[in-house]
Symmetry: C2
Subunit: 189 residues, 2 copies
């Protein structure tokens, strides 16, 4: 019998593709086995269990997203950097909804430590170098940006902004204008 050539990496990549097709929640060890034309039990030599598989997909997505962010940020500053990183998140979520959903998968502390999570926080903070914010306002602003990026993208993905004017791209652009303005005029109590 011909061996299927299963590896954790191949399973993870196929799992990510499956997530984009059917949704991250619907990623199943059984379906993955079906795609490799292999019995379900065979996957358990390469992946600890279903949670382990999902964790690996999440780590993959976080890396991909951080890589895109890093590339987009190179050589940019200020509003240019802000919109570049924001677009990276939004575009990634639209291109890879399952992978994007995977980035919200709750990671164990160990998995989180080895993830690209810190790179994401670092990138958002890097954007703020183009604005004159000092601690603790810088941290507040990091949290605001994270909230807007994630919030907007997830509402848009859920269909919240379709079927109504103005179109989503328009709102996105104007919201980024507004955030830039806010960061340049951050209020002090």
């Amino acid at each position: 019998m011909v061996r299927a050539g299963l590896t954790p990496e191949r399973l993870t990549r196929a799992g990510a593709e499956l997530a984009d097709e059917v949704g991250f929640e619907q990623v199943t060890v059984s379906e993955l086995a079906r795609r490799f034309d292999v019995r379900v039990a065979s996957l358990y030599s390469h992946v600890r269990n279903s949670e382990d598989l999902k964790t690996r997909i999440a780590l993959l997505a976080l890396e991909e997203l951080a890589d895109r962010g890093g590339a987009a940020l190179a050589g940019r500053a200020g509003k240019d950097a802000l919109t570049a990183l924001a677009d990276v998140y939004r575009d990634y979520a639209r291109e890879h909804p399952g992978r994007y959903a995977a980035t919200r998968f709750p990671l164990s502390p160990e998995a989180a430590a080895g993830s690209a999570g810190p790179r994401h926080a670092h990138m958002t903070r890097a954007i703020l170098r183009g604005y004159e914010l000092t601690e603790p306002d810088q941290t507040h602003a990091v949290r605001l940006l994270g909230s807007v990026f994630h919030g907007y993208v997830s509402l848009e993905l859920a269909g919240g902004f379709s079927h109504s004017a103005p179109d989503s791209q328009e709102s996105w652009t104007r919201i980024l204008d507004a955030l830039d303005s806010l960061l340049r005029n951050w209020p002090t109590p």
Copy 2:
């Protein structure tokens, strides 16, 4: 044999409590049957299927949240209204994480039409009456507020802001200050 007194309403309420205890994703027809000390099949006379149950929980949560929002908004305007509604969302999510998660459950168009969803949109728009925004900026602002509320709350719930200074309450307050300032000084291109 004593009848258990199952009704769609009781199942929905119990389902909502279950969601808050174990997470919305973990709400299961089986567990619900166990809690009513009844066989699983019995639930299927009162609820069409698992999706129907989750939809009912989502509708319940949306109603509760809209009720709280309406009560909080009564007699308030401007920044006062903004923080009141924002706190309603955040507090509800912290008190009832499972129910809050349920509000993100994708509803069928019919279910969505009969839901409290429109009330939520209406409330956010009502807040903006205290600021001088005209269309389409008002819609952009509605979307921004929705994104921040949902984004912040869901990142906070996922543990994103714990274990690091400044504490989350502090950021929340300052972010609402910043949003108020932004709405009073909304940039025009």
